[in-house]
Symmetry: C2
Subunit: 217 residues, 2 copies
DNA sequence: CCCTAATTTTTAGAGCATAAAAAGTTTATG
DNA sequence: CATAAACTTTTTATGCTCTAAAAATTAGGG
């Protein structure tokens, strides 16, 4: 999956090495341009010129401008995953807090990497190109994050802080999804800040707790 | 809000009438083309020719191709809202069932209107153009749907089927959001059918019930 | 009936994206 | 080591979305 680290580049033939080089050069200049000039003002032609390739080559590597962006984003996975694992390893005792923190780590990571307007392009593209190669790569990240959420829940269950009768798969998927749609809303609106979404997510969970804590009927 | 019914068209001057006519003509031919030929193959030039205006006029009225699509979608609101109100008026006794039905009505309405691939464009555009005029119009629909969900919850509370201590605003927003992200997933994947999502939504709610029904710790 | 203000059309151009042919390299083979 | 084969990249051409400006049209008031 993540085998694009160039550690073993010496083993590759020249052709492969050049290919990896071009790919990395394109990603590098694209990232720099997107961060400084923004997504829309950065033209493929400019990226191609910076990376010293033709515009068509950029398309050969990344299918589309949005595909290039998605490739860029999925490169930042590792750091995010590490941060989330660290949080889980600290054995939080309150699930609501833990889910809220999970969301917060995601949002802060996202903001450190790209501007909201650029993230709108990412989310937009991930829906549109869900069946293309690059769309799938992005969806893969979601799968990994759900897995992390599940491992966290299983850990809560092991400590008897969550009933063992609960389906951890379903709960992980559900809690991640809830967190994810709040992330969407965070990205969609420039005026929504981190705290805003944090309290929203907490009141979501409080409301659900209130709904189910007194067995209905 | 919904004052674009042309009932009072006789009161308008000729200029206004022509404008309304052009607008409706464009929407009409666009809808027909999107439904028969699909979104991508339908060019603005073709729509303009069908509606007997210039291509630039289409842009004057709807900003973009996606904006035209969003305008089209928000015209189908009324029927959807009526269907949801009918369901709520039937006083369902199980909240989980009711939320699942809510989602089902939404999905079936959507599928009656446009193909999944076209809906992907809609969702994609609604994120991207969240701050533009047409983006706001679409977000407005979400607000109306959350209101419906809230009225349903308040009704449950009046019948003592949901604790009155629960914040109905927060719960409505949360349950709608959960339903909404499952709608997103329904649209994103051509291979996901209605039942698939229905059971997913139900297991979401079951999992949450299981989480909170035994007060943790 | 003419003027003006609003609206549409024309025109030109930038940028994204794709397809096919041409040119250039790398790798494999004798 | 030269040459052929395989693979990439570049060139070239084209279609579409979208914007901006000037030019043409047309409704409505005096």
């Amino acid at each position: 999956m993540e085998g694009r680290r160039t550690g073993g580049m010496a083993l590759m033939g020249l052709r492969e090495r050049q290919k990896a080089n071009r790919r990395e050069r394109i990603l590098e200049v694209a990232k720099a341009r997107f961060q400084t000039d923004g997504y829309a003002p950065t033209t493929i032609e400019l990226i191609a010129k910076d990376a010293d390739v033709s515009t068509v080559t950029v398309y050969n590597y990344f299918d589309s401008k949005a595909g290039l962006l998605l490739a860029l984003v999925s490169e930042s996975d590792q750091l995010l995953i590490r941060q989330l694992k660290t949080m889980i390893a600290q054995k939080p005792t309150d699930l609501i807090d833990a889910v809220a923190t999970f969301g917060q780590i995601l949002r802060r990571h996202a903001m450190r990497y790209l501007a909201k307007s650029t993230w709108r392009e990412v989310l937009s593209a991930s829906i549109q190109e869900g069946s293309s190669d690059f769309g799938r790569t992005y969806l893969e990240l979601d799968r990994v994050l759900v897995d992390l959420m599940r491992s966290m829940i299983v850990d809560f269950q092991a400590r008897r802080l969550v009933p063992e009768t609960v389906d951890s798969d379903a709960l992980a998927d559900c809690l991640f999804s809830l967190q994810n749609i709040r992330f969407f809303q965070f990205i969609a609106d420039d005026n929504r800040d981190d705290e805003d979404i944090d309290s929203r997510l907490r009141s979501d969970l409080k409301a659900l707790q209130g709904l189910f804590s007194t067995p209905a009927h």
